[in-house]
Symmetry: C2
Subunit: 337 residues, 2 copies
């Protein structure tokens, strides 16, 4: 029987993946759950079965056909080699191998063609980049993107359960004791620039990912990206304000026509009532939402767009599952009913 593993099953993305897998069309497979020593022996429900969590080790991948890695790049860097030795196909949600030439970086709606029967490791992109790409890739095909200026509004879910708990705890504190001042990375009614390390050009890792991954996914190394990544006190779903300059001119009607037909993308806008997509609207949605499509007031060939997507779904677990479905279809069509 086909064997699937989730590495990092107790994390926010791993757990969401388990839930998606449960409701998916995939059947007739064995599921193995791996996590760190501290979760060993715990059980998680899956389609009326209880599955015991095992501690991840070098031998975990024997007999596993497909493994999802959702435990961060340190774990991916350490353990994916053992999965490779065991001939396990890996879908890695971390940034560990995204920049390698022979590792496809896949959003299935955009570049499923980069997965071949020989592919043994597939990277799922950074959540913010994925959400940014969704309403843009068909526009890129038609008008070709020259430059993107993006500012992000990233939710706590992007930092896992730990960051969600920090947001809840510090918000409660701020409500109870509004006069106490907290500096630094305080999250109660406060926001801060993405805390990943800065490169010599003073771009944070998160921002640098948006540059590199956009180019790789859209297969256009000339796209210019300026990004500012910010963590806002929102629970789940990332938002992006983007100003997109194209090489070719467009009308707003053409933009709507294309975005409306773009798979897994939905326009949510109600100009008379000034109602546009919010993180709550996107929470739980498989679609990426976009709003307030408008021409830049001064610069030709340039579009302003507001994009919101569920960080845990299309930004992470859902995209990984979609990749798995492609891989499994290639490996054995029969598994998909």
């Amino acid at each position: 029987m086909f064997s699937i593993a989730i590495v990092g099953a107790t994390g926010l993305v791993g757990h969401k993946l388990l839930k998606l897998l449960e409701k998916s069309k995939l059947k007739d497979f064995q599921l193995h759950l791996f996590a760190s020593a501290k979760s060993k022996g715990q059980k998680m429900n899956f389609r009326k079965n209880e599955i015991e969590i095992k501690e991840l080790n070098e031998k975990s991948f024997e007999g596993i056909d497909l493994a999802f890695f959702c435990a961060g790049s340190t774990i991916s860097k350490k353990f994916i080699q053992y999965a490779k030795e065991a001939k396990t196909t890996v879908i890695d949600s971390s940034s560990a191998f995204r920049c390698l030439d022979d590792v496809p970086l896949v959003i299935p709606e955009i570049n499923a063609h980069t997965i071949t029967e020989k592919t043994s490791l597939i990277a799922s992109p950074n959540c913010t980049t994925t959400i940014l790409m969704m309403p843009l890739f068909e526009l890129h095909r038609k008008f070709r993107i020259r430059r993107i200026v993006a500012a992000t509004y990233q939710a706590a879910s992007g930092g896992g359960i730990k960051l969600i708990n920090k947001l809840l705890k510090e918000t409660k504190e701020a409500i109870q004791n509004p006069n106490k001042i907290h500096h630094g990375f305080y999250y109660g009614f406060n926001l801060y620039l993405h805390e990943t390390a800065q490169n010599p050009f003073r771009y944070s890792e998160e921002e640098a990912k948006m540059i590199f991954e956009t180019r790789k996914i859209l297969e256009d190394s000339e796209i210019l990206v300026s990004a500012t990544c910010v963590r806002v006190p929102v629970l789940r779903a990332h938002s992006i304000a983007a100003n997109i300059e194209f090489h070719n001119d467009f009308t707003l009607e053409e933009i709507y026509e294309i975005v409306k037909k773009t798979p897994s993308v939905r326009i949510l806008e109600d100009f008379p009532n000034r109602r546009f997509a919010t993180p709550i609207d996107a929470t739980g949605s498989f679609d990426t939402l976009c709003s307030r499509l408008r021409k830049d007031p001064f610069q030709p060939r340039t579009l302003d767009i507001w994009i919101v997507g569920d960080q845990l779904l299309k930004g992470a677990a859902l995209n990984a599952l979609q990749i798995a479905e492609i891989v499994i279809n290639q490996k054995r069509g029969a598994l998909c009913s």
Copy 2:
């Protein structure tokens, strides 16, 4: 004796102005407080005196030398005419008259020279625009701004006490009942695009203000501005992610040299610890903070900058008070000790 009035004394900006006035160097003046009928007869403390709030009417300005209008543009549009008839000099924090050619739009550090002895009405700019201008005006003088792409992270204080209460109430609700889904302008761990009306170009009023006011304040009608204005669940202090293209080239060293010398601006950045300005850092600060000054990775002559300023202080009450100090100095130097 010189007479000063605050119209909208019970509002967030009016109240903050009262507190600033209390601590200011201004002395030997009478203070009158005006508000709507529902606050009539209430008393507010000012320098050990109690001042009774009067209901605003057409006759309120008799004998008033200087009036601050902090009650929104509807009140300004209705009552500033009576102040004019009474020869009261008006400092208006609303947007009502900002676009008139003969009304100076003033940030004292930038364009105090536009106030003359004949000026009877001075507008204080939109809070977001003021905060954006502060670290940029000296750079504009040196390198000349060609284009600004800005995304804002605006605090609840920008919508007054009502919006702060909405944020607190809906956040408490969201903590107590996390599974209840609210759409629309829900503010508990959620954000939304600025709710002001959209013009035919699909720019909200708030965004349109940033375009018009930037040009007026910097006295350069060729500056291009693309803006997306967003309300985030932060209590006070607005943040802006801005990408600024200049006409002339610069080095980062030159930028630092100029920004460090810019009055009322402070650079808050600690690259090794990834600590940059947050809304809490800016809360209560008279200075506008800026962080992460960096060259755009691809576009020449372009700067990325993160700006945070107290919406209630430099964004509103403090700027109005600074304007008043200029006016009063012109009228009677003796008032300023």
